[in-house]
Symmetry: C2
Subunit: 426 residues, 2 copies
């Protein structure tokens, strides 16, 4: 199936127009569109899977990895995706909320009112479920979206976007609320990044290279994030049995994601007891280790060899997001050194301390400026669902607008509403 | 006085280091630095004015306009600047505030804590008072700043930054908290815009060209704004005498600034009575008019000629920020047409309705998505001081992070602080 080259400027104009309509739509109408979307996803499962099968066949022929093909596949997943849409519909609508109300001494009534951001530009990779997920979040928050998915998923995305358009129309909303760049031409990504007259925010969902590309080429503000070089520091007062449980969870529960543990820092007074425990326990589950010379000393040579323990490369290994069953281990002299190491090597995503010493916990929280700072918990909680946001658009590691998991509220802005009685400025 | 070419990367590194110290400094220490700064500004007035005189002499020789020389001059202004610094010191410190606290069903304690943004890059033009103003705001909020002022003010800025450094040191804070690009090389602005490893936000303070340059060249998020094509719509139900008072204030109180009125929209049923009132009253104060053909019809030829009323150029005049005593006037069929005109031509800064009809006021507020939306008040109130923020860093017309006047809180971000009892993710 071929299509005309998409005209990005015209897509931008359509999105801007549609954003006025969806932006002032009430919660009932938006939730109706989402209910219809969930229903249609289920009713059109056959058509969607047929399109998805085309992508899978082409991907297989092109030699995509098992992992890539797995991400691409919608087999057995449509029902879950529809349920996620229903869950988003059930959340409260943040748009219209009035806050920071006050009456100034001159009688002016001042308030802020929550409004949609406007038009989202979302750039992602081979996961077609993101197409539905982001569209549902955009509709819920009164935003338009221009989507650019991975080229491996063109057929699946085309089918899904058709269903989304039907649901929007059936709810009396314009199809232009969700637009899809139906082309694998990479030049169009760059064009999207320059549409600052129409697009208000760029949300990249993918690896470090995608984030870098967006930052370097966009004239639109980019939410960067998603890169987690995460640390836990085990203080000398930590309960080591319980600490081991947390470390095990942070490293092994889902090692391929950004909030998984990368580097374990151990207080020198706990090192000789704790590091062998970690190597033995996590080694059983296939974790391999990169350790500094002090950590190496705490291990018997036989333990090290049996558990694939290697010497860490100081100039590289502390700055690597492993995204796999590898754990860096480093012994530190105490809290200060742990803080310094994290300040130098963290990507500002999720870092924590395991301690029974409240003063140390407080000092750690004060000094570490990461999106999520933990005391006695696994870094795996940095997630919109886990932290009670109900939904997650992205995880931001930059400082503007939103930091850490972004939910519905983070897809809104505000306007000032000022009411007077023919007030003039003195 | 010559200086070595500044090394921007090294400035960035120093700022990042200093930001850890100022970021965790308590309110007393930061306020002490501000009190010392105010005192030293007053004590060193002679030295500062001598440096300023050099800039004025060079500016005069280079043929700068009266207006530019006036902006450049610190003569008689140091005391006021010192008082502004004391006022900033007296405001509450937003850093450290804990909000959105909750305990999740699994017992995790989750909260957000307000933190400084980190390092601000501020690019401005010929006003040396901005050097002190921005530095004081940065110090108060625990941020570092790298300043790049106009090349016409190098001597003044050098003198002011010396005083700032003395105050920081005397309060036990590093001088690197405030750094100043001591060079008129324009290439350094571009270098600053690429320092995303060290600088968290770019705040341009200047005209449309500066904002555009920053947006197009920066890999750091830019707060764009400051461009105001502002509208007031006078509805048929408005009290026309009072409306005239508001229009007069919005246009003439300070016509050179972004929140001054640019285009007056008048309901067709009020046009024949109101437009002659406006032309007569504002004409007396030197306002000139660009009016559409319907508005022209409401004026006698002699009135128009006497008050410098010209036909508006439809393709240009509705998209111009006048920044002077020019007012566009257009007759509209009613609320809907007024809204459409504003949606097409507003820069999203400040737009309002003058009406006695509450339903129309509500519809206007819902439909107009500008940073500040007014009912029965002058657009001149879009200002941090006027709206109760105590201080103003900039006025944002973009949708991310902050919109409208930005005060101290808008110079902060937040981090998530999550406390558990050795919690792991299920």
């Amino acid at each position: 199936m071929s299509s005309l080259q998409p005209d990005l400027k015209s897509m931008g104009e359509k999105a801007k127009r549609a954003s006025r309509l969806i932006g002032s739509a009430g919660p009932e109408q938006k939730d109706k569109a989402l209910a219809l979307l969930a229903e249609r996803l289920e009713n059109h499962t056959g058509m969607i899977l047929a399109a998805n099968a085309l992508d899978l066949r082409e991907g297989f022929a092109a030699g995509l990895s098992e992992a890539m093909l797995d991400r691409l596949s919608l087999q057995g997943r449509i029902q879950g995706i529809a349920q996620d849409v229903r869950k988003i519909a059930s959340l409260p609508d943040p748009v219209g909320e009035v806050f920071d109300e006050s009456v100034l001494p001159n009688g002016l009534e001042v308030a802020k009112q929550r409004v949609p951001i406007g038009v989202l530009g979302v750039i992602y990779e081979a996961r077609p479920n993101v197409t539905v997920d982001v569209s549902a979040l955009a509709i819920k928050t009164g935003n338009c979206a221009i989507l650019r998915g991975g080229s491996e998923t063109l057929n699946s995305n085309r089918a899904l976007v058709n269903v989304i358009h039907e649901a929007l129309n059936a709810a009396g909303l314009p199809a232009d609320v969700i637009q899809f760049i139906d082309s694998s031409d990479r030049g169009l990504v760059k064009e999207l990044l320059l549409l600052h007259d129409y697009v208000d925010i760029i949300i990249p969902r993918g690896g470090a290279n995608l984030h870098k590309f967006c930052r370097e080429n966009s004239t639109i503000p980019v939410i960067t994030g998603g890169i987690g070089i995460c640390h836990l520091f085990v203080d000398e007062t930590a309960d080591l049995e319980k600490a081991l449980h947390v470390i095990h969870n942070a490293k092994t529960q889902r090692p391929t994601v950004c909030n998984a543990l990368d580097t374990l820092l151990v207080h020198e007074k706990a090192a000789s007891r704790f590091i062998p425990m970690v190597v033995k326990s996590l080694g059983k589950d296939g974790v391999k280790f990169k350790v500094d010379s002090e950590a190496m000393k705490s291990l018997k040579t036989s333990e090290g060899a049996a558990n694939d323990v290697k010497a860490a490369n100081d100039s590289m290994d502390w700055d690597t997001e492993w995204l796999s069953l590898i754990l860096g281990i480093k012994v530190v002299g105490g809290l200060e050194e742990a803080i310094q190491h994290i300040q130098s090597h963290s990507s500002g995503h999720s870092d924590g301390i395991i301690t029974e010493d409240e003063a140390n916990a407080r000092q750690f929280v004060r000094a570490i400026d990461s999106a999520a700072v933990y005391v006695n918990a696994s870094t795996r909680f940095t997630d919109g669902g886990q932290l009670g946001l109900g939904a997650e658009v992205a995880i931001s590691t930059q400082k503007l607008h939103a930091r850490g998991p972004m939910g519905l509220k983070e897809l809104t802005s505000y306007k000032w509403v000022i009411r007077g009685n023919y007030h003039v400025r003195k």
